[in-house]
């Protein structure tokens, strides 16, 4: 009997020891919320461009979409430093901009931006991240300013109210004549040419045409289907009226496709640019690549030359999305976290603001704003 008891006790001990192996973990040494980010903002010197100077009094914004914590602001000191303390480990977008008076009659906007993915594992025991950001002149120009593709709140997979908005951030008029608007395919990230899924073209002659001007500070709305989508019962009051859009996409070989006679067309299969698809211009609801090109290269069979690109944007709702647009055009992608069929849209944080880094340049907004900016 004693042996039996002894065996039972031994069995207990073995089972206990085996179970314990799964139940013990060591307490992490690093504490979240203790992270500090120390940044120095500099500008190339006016006298010697190889030398940098600190930017003092610069308002710096740091924001993370990982947590429900508000965006934070700081001001650089005389040495160009700004310090953010007591931050959680997260993915941060840092952005600062300033308008510098370069002469009596000229101002330039300079921007300093960076994306940081900071985890306890990436920083080790160090809780202070330090970096220097060299500010650059803002890339002003004709930009793809808003991308509304995700559909209004609905339960019938309606996303045909897509539109794209352009914005002229230059101080002079630009002309859309002959420009092409592309839905991009997957392109090698260091390629010189772009793979194209859809290609649509504005009427007129590229570069030299002067029929379709866009004034400085003007928004231009390019509609997939230029009508009031609120006329569709289940989404009435939840979507956009595109009947007054500036342009409408039309596929010339689409049978029975909608074409608003009062809105000029951007066309494909028009005898100049062509694509196999017979459907209208539609893009992925929460992920795709878009490009606006000057139209000098419109033969998509060998790809579109990246040097003809005026602006390109990649977007995806997934942070783990595999990038599809070359880095030279867009260093990242915007729209992370965008929800489909929720009426959300993607717009630049300021009209025409462009650092070639869509994760910083764009913000997800809760309602589309065709022809104006969400901050207005």
């Amino acid at each position: 009997m004693k042996t039996r008891i002894l065996r039972l006790c031994l069995l207990f001990f073995v089972l206990f020891a085996a179970a314990s192996c799964f139940l013990f973990e060591s307490k992490p040494e690093t504490v979240d919320g203790n992270l500090s980010i120390r940044l120095r903002f500099t500008l190339p010197s006016d006298i010697d461009s190889t030398v940098t100077e600190p930017v003092a009094g610069l308002r710096v914004k740091i924001v993370t979409s990982d947590y429900n914590i508000p965006e934070m602001y700081g001001i650089t000191d005389s040495a160009g430093f700004v310090l953010f303390e007591q931050l959680p480990y997260a993915y941060y977008s840092i952005e600062a901009h300033s308008v510098l008076q370069v002469s009596e009659f000229e101002e330039v906007e300079v921007v300093g931006t960076k994306n940081l993915n900071l985890t306890a594992n990436s920083l080790g025991t160090d809780t202070v991240y330090t970096d220097t950001l060299l500010m650059e002149q803002s890339k002003l120009g004709l930009k793809i300013n808003e991308i509304y593709t995700s559909g209004p709140p609905n339960n019938m997979f309606y996303f045909y109210d897509q539109f794209f908005e352009l914005y002229n951030g230059l101080s002079e008029t630009v002309y859309l004549d002959g420009m092409i608007f592309l839905r991009l395919g997957t392109t090698p990230l260091f390629s010189d040419t772009l793979s194209v899924t859809y290609i649509y073209q504005f009427p007129g002659t590229p570069l030299t045409g002067r029929q379709y001007p866009v004034e400085p500070g003007e928004f231009v709305v390019l509609a997939g289907n230029a009508f009031d989508h609120n006329q569709i019962g289940p989404i009435s009051g939840k979507t956009v009226d595109l009947s007054d859009a500036d342009w409408e996409f039309v596929n010339m070989i689409e049978s029975g496709g909608y074409d608003n006679p009062n809105v000029p067309n951007i066309t494909t299969n028009n005898g100049r640019v062509s694509q196999k698809s017979k459907v209208d211009f539609m893009v992925g609801v929460t992920g795709d690549g878009l490009a606006l090109c000057d139209g000098t290269d419109y033969d998509q069979t060998d790809g579109i030359d990246v040097n003809t690109v005026i602006d390109a944007v990649e977007y995806s709702s997934s942070s783990t999305h595999t990038k599809e647009v070359p880095y030279v055009l867009d260093q990242s992608f915007g729209g992370i976290g965008q929800n489909k069929y929720a009426g959300q849209s993607l717009e630049r944080i300021r009209p025409g603001f462009d650092t070639n880094n869509s994760r910083i340049d764009f913000v997800v907004i809760n309602a589309p704003t065709p022809g104006y900016h969400h901050a207005e």
């Binding site: 009997m1 039996r4 008891i5 039972l8 006790c9 207990f12 089972l15 206990f16 179970a19 314990s20 799964f22 139940l23 013990f24 973990e25 307490k27 992490p28 040494e29 690093t30 504490v31 979240d32 919320g33 203790n34 979409s65 990982d66 947590y67 429900n68 914590i69 007591q86 959680p88 480990y89 997260a90 985890t119 306890a120 594992n121 709140p153 609905n154 339960n155 019938m156 997979f157 929460t286 709702s317 997934s318 942070s319 783990t320 992370i336 976290g337 965008q338 929800n339 489909k340 069929y341 929720a342």
Partner: protein, 474 residues
């Protein structure tokens, strides 16, 4: 003896319904010192050590019951009301003169109405709970099996083994639809040495709870958030399906020591160590993402000292100390995100008056202290709360006929809740009424319980109504 068994049935009948809410294995065995006032509590009441389970004859019992909670005062992720229907078959049977077993099978249908956003059954029970953005009704249902085996190994040594296994499914029928599948199992084993006026035991418990939440949106995306603690959440990427797996493994090990006989002084004391680890993972598009793990370690000490003279009066004094510490690691950042320290102590005394064989009454009071110390690090938050709790209770049991037994129990208590209740204290009022009747075919018991919980800073309350019906055949 008959009186005691019948009272026990009523309590178990109601307790069975209450326990259905805690479908998952509890962190620790919670002794009820008000149980079984006719004689001293034995070690099984105190510890759950299956070796200490006392065989008192074969019986089969069928229990059905219901519970309805009206939560006019509630937290953000609590439902407006809850309803639970419970059915159970329980039996105790001897195998030979050295061993016996008991088995139980139960089925619960548990509903929560207007549960806001929470994808979890109990949002506040986990540091990594998930929410979406919807409000809807949830229905949980499933069976649970229990088995206990007790054998006398030698003249003074008993061995006990207990296991339970349960499966529960749920559906939150809204957008997104949330389907929950829970699989829980627990194993308890113990040895008990009993000799004359002395007993001593050791016991251990291991449990494994697995929960899978699957939120599916039929046309648009699931937009879910993973809370890290109770204030900060991590924005999950939207997707057509979001699944969370929570695995919880726990261990309890301890010993109990007792002395005395059923008349005169009798005492039982137990101490156990608690250890539990909980892991959360998110599955999206066939990829698994670790979200967090948290570990709880604690100590549970309890004991009671009884004096039963065999005359009209008896006394029971008891005490309990529960203390545990938590830490949680975010597996998103790889850093410590939560620390928590809780300590609860209570002690009380009970006077039992038994003027005749058909009359019995008791009067008791208990007091205690609680201390909660909770820290979140992601975005600094700290809550430290402590205070005194107390409870006054009384009750009576009497035979109103030769085969009819009636009992009533009343209690009034002050309770200090954790910070997320947004009130400093609750006042609990509790009434239990039971009637037991002996028929030729067995015992029929009906019971009713009402609990009212009132926060100190609000006029709204939480009301709970329980009823139970059982049939026992010996």
């Amino acid at each position: 003896m008959q009186n005691r068994v019948l009272y026990y049935i009523t309590i178990v009948c109601l307790a069975g319904i209450s326990f259905a809410f805690a479908f998952e294995n509890a962190l620790f065995w919670q002794p009820s010192f008000r149980e079984d006032i006719s004689q001293p509590l034995n070690a099984y009441y105190l510890t759950g050590n299956p070796a200490a389970y006392l065989y008192e004859g074969n019986f089969q019992e069928i229990r059905i019951g219901g519970r309805f909670d009206k939560m006019d005062y509630r937290r953000r992720y609590d439902p407006v009301s809850e309803q639970n229907l419970h059915a159970e078959f329980f039996t105790v049977r001897d195998i030979d003169n050295k061993s016996f077993f008991s088995t139980g099978i139960s089925y619960d249908d548990y509903r929560k109405r207007d549960l806001f956003a929470s994808m979890e059954k109990d949002f506040y029970d986990d540091y990594f709970s998930m929410i979406d953005s919807t409000q809807g009704d949830v229905s949980y249902y499933g069976p649970r099996l229990q088995i206990l085996y007790n054998v006398k190994l030698s003249e003074n040594v008993f061995f006990g083994l207990e296991g339970n296994y349960g499966v529960e499914r749920s559906l939150k029928d809204t957008f997104p639809q949330t389907i929950t599948i829970m699989r829980n199992s627990g194993y308890r084993a113990g040895l008990d040495f009993r000799k004359n006026a002395f007993n001593m035991g050791v016991f251990a418990r291991y449990y494994d709870d697995q929960i899978s939440y699957e939120a599916v949106k039929s046309y648009t995306n699931v937009k879910s958030h993973t809370y890290i603690g109770y204030n900060i959440f991590y924005n999950e990427l939207p997707g057509s399906k979001t699944e969370k797996i929570r695995t919880r493994n726990g261990l309890e090990y301890g010993a109990n020591l007792g002395f005395g006989k059923k008349t005169g002084f009798y005492g039982d004391f137990a101490v156990s160590g608690l250890h539990r680890i909980s892991r959360s993972e998110l599955i999206r598009a066939s990829h698994t993402y670790d979200r967090g793990l948290w570990l709880r370690q604690g100590l549970h000490v309890r004991g009671n000292l009884n004096y039963y003279s065999g005359e009209v009066a008896a006394f029971r004094f008891y005490g309990e100390l529960l203390q545990y510490e938590d830490w949680a690691e975010s597996l998103i950042s790889g850093a410590l995100v939560i620390e928590n320290n809780e300590r609860m102590a209570r002690w009380g005394g009970m006077f039992i008056y038994k003027p005749s064989l058909v009359q019995e009454a008791y009067l008791g009071a208990e007091s205690g202290t609680v201390h909660y110390d909770y820290i979140e690090y992601v975005f600094p938050f700290e809550s430290s709360r402590s205070g005194n709790e107390w409870k006054l209770y009384t009750g009576s049991r009497l035979y109103v006929g030769p085969k009819t037994h009636f009992h009533v129990d009343l209690a009034y208590a002050k309770m200090i809740p954790r910070f997320y209740w947004d009130t400093e204290s609750f006042r609990d009022t509790n009434i239990i009424i039971g009637l037991e009747q002996l028929f030729s075919f067995g015992y029929i018991t009906i019971g009713f319980e009402y609990i009212n919980r009132k926060p100190e800073n609000d006029v709204e309350t939480i009301s709970k109504y329980l009823f139970g019906l059982s049939y026992l055949r010996k």
